[in-house]
Symmetry: C2
């Protein structure tokens, strides 16, 4: 089957680029002697997670407990659930802990530590727990400069029913950067803040085996990972317009596009209608901090075209100059580079894997919570 035979909208994965991205990140991890525990929330498929891991580096990171269950069923044995656990999720976490050789949760609240320890005591199990650290993003995690944070680590290490695994951070503020030089600084901050906190824990006689950092931009541009033991990038398998715009990747590395059909021409408004709207692209605004027009993706090889507005199933393409409508006949196909491939991929029940213009495979992602 060829691309032209697909129903639109469709989510396309360029297999050669996907493979190259996966090998690139494996090589970076190897060069810098850190474990790669990819965040699989970007794609949520067994196939890509299989390509990202190996018997030597089997670990993955997930964003929901449903992902953890899906990957458990798919044969993965070493999973970190990278959202702070809460009491109402402990039964599921306990089942995963019992059913997997390695299942890790994380927390950053004293109340949650109490809840985890109480659950473990009551049910006679032992949770693997990371302490979530805020390295400057200010979305989640303890403040490593505070004595209370060392105290929380101490309580984690001392608690019955808890195996303290180490510390974990995510430099999500790398997405606020505008260029590689800025990303390098965030990557250094991510590395230094966590590595220094690990040293501080050791100075306080608290063993901290794993020092885990994340984010694709910082993983792409970190000069080294001294003091870090693990990295958890996710988006790098596909990349997207956002990553290319901030210089996290090159445009030629983007491996995911949305196939769409030109449905109508409206020369009076200098607009074209496409059948990719908010449910095919997501309403992510991309790297809007860079300024310029808000667009909902980029049309492959057509830098003058702007996806300027989207509603549920409708997308509108405009341009600053008159559109050369003859180049894009009604019924013809376009490929769109998504602003944020994780959110775009999550909208599709099926991915089409492409090589040399042919559909070589179909992968079904998991969904829900």
């Amino acid at each position: 089957m060829k691309i032209e035979d697909l129903k639109t909208p469709a989510f396309l994965i360029d297999r050669p680029r996907l493979k190259a991205n996966i090998e690139m990140m494996k090589a970076r991890a190897q060069k810098h002697a850190v474990s790669l525990r990819p965040h699989v929330k970007t794609h949520k498929t067994a196939q890509i997670a299989g390509m990202q891991t190996s018997s030597e580096a089997p670990g993955i990171t997930v964003s929901t407990l449903a992902e953890a269950r899906f990957y458990q069923k798919s044969g993965f044995k070493d999973i970190t659930y990278a959202f702070p656990i809460t009491a109402n999720k402990l039964q599921e976490a306990a089942e995963l802990t019992a059913g997997l050789p390695d299942f890790n949760i994380l927390l950053d609240q004293p109340q949650t530590l109490s809840a985890v320890a109480a659950y473990a005591r009551e049910h006679g199990i032992r949770f693997n727990v990371f302490l979530k650290v805020d390295c400057g993003y200010h979305r989640a995690g303890i403040d490593p400069s505070k004595p209370a944070s060392v105290e929380l680590a101490r309580q984690l290490a001392a608690a019955d029913g808890i195996e303290f695994k180490g510390i974990l951070t995510h430099a999500g503020h790398s997405y606020h950067c505008s260029n590689p030089a800025e990303i390098v600084k965030v990557a250094e901050q991510e590395r230094d803040v966590t590595a220094q906190f690990a040293v501080r824990l050791q100075e306080n006689a608290i063993a901290c085996d794993t020092v885990s950092v994340g984010s694709t931009p910082s993983a792409m541009h970190a000069p080294d990972w001294r003091g870090v033991t693990e990295i958890r990038p996710g988006n790098y398998v596909f990349f997207d317009k956002f990553q290319a715009d901030i210089g996290s990747c090159r445009p030629q590395q983007v491996a995911a596009t949305v196939l769409t059909t030109v449905a109508a021409h409206y020369p009076a408004h200098n607009q074209m209608l496409i059948d990719a709207g908010a449910l095919a692209l997501s309403k992510d605004l991309g790297a809007d901090h860079l300024g310029g027009d808000i667009v909902f993706g980029a049309v492959v090889n057509q830098p003058d075209l702007k996806i300027s507005s989207i509603s549920q199933e409708h997308g509108l393409i405009t341009a600053d100059d008159p559109i050369a409508f003859d180049k894009f006949p009604v019924g013809s196909l376009l490929q769109i580079i998504p602003n944020h491939s994780c959110l775009t991929a999550a909208l599709f029940p099926l991915y089409h894997v492409v090589e040399d213009g042919r559909i070589v495979d179909e992968w079904t992602p998991m969904r829900g919570w």
Copy 2:
């Protein structure tokens, strides 16, 4: 099962409000002597579509061909696919035309008319076709003031293999309004532009049986529908923050919320972390044209709390004044009114139906294209 027993995030439907919204719109259609052909893209379930329709008013509107197939299998017999058809979708449209008593497509391009007519001729079938009219939204549709638009209708009415069903518009610019008075004006424009175009077609000896208008805000506030035969609102089953903000509905009518868990407190940043992010809420910005802070939903009964940023599975709640953290313990539940319920609902594989705090049903929506 109670709300507190659900995994979070979860999509909740308040059944009494849902029923009231459905009856309210049926009553409006009846009072004004128009057919109600609800747009079911908002929920994509057989159950709600069943509540919205009856043996006397069986018609529904869908946004994708996959929805059309789903509703065909669910026993619905009268379906309008309200996105301009393209040549690459004609085989599917033909299958639906053959398999349903009434299946309607629409177009607004001369090239598409040629493609439809050619397909019909070649395959010996007859398509039911609407002419899509632009009543001022400028997203899609012919300009009714142009002679070429009458000519396109004439060609539709004359074409072999095409049953010309009438004209159809969607006043999506009702969503740009700021209050009911402005919505009334858009509703009058939607009504008048389409009704007048229908008269013009009749003056040109072109029969136009159906005059169909859409949009929930205009359907809520149209003073009457003189010259219109059919309305196609969709969002009204749930409503949402957007509809309430522009005065399309009252806040007490909103029937859909997202249940989420408070995962962490960060007093130093005056923030709370919740487990509802972009995949549970969508990144729709809501009625941002009204000004004020960008938020990604409203917390039920907590007007001071702002969902100020979301990433894939993380949501951050802030407030202008210090948050009363004790009121929202770690592990406790909140309900969020989504900015745009259609896009939010589309993210959930399952809906939980609630009455008096108890889960009384579960409905599974369809997905994909």
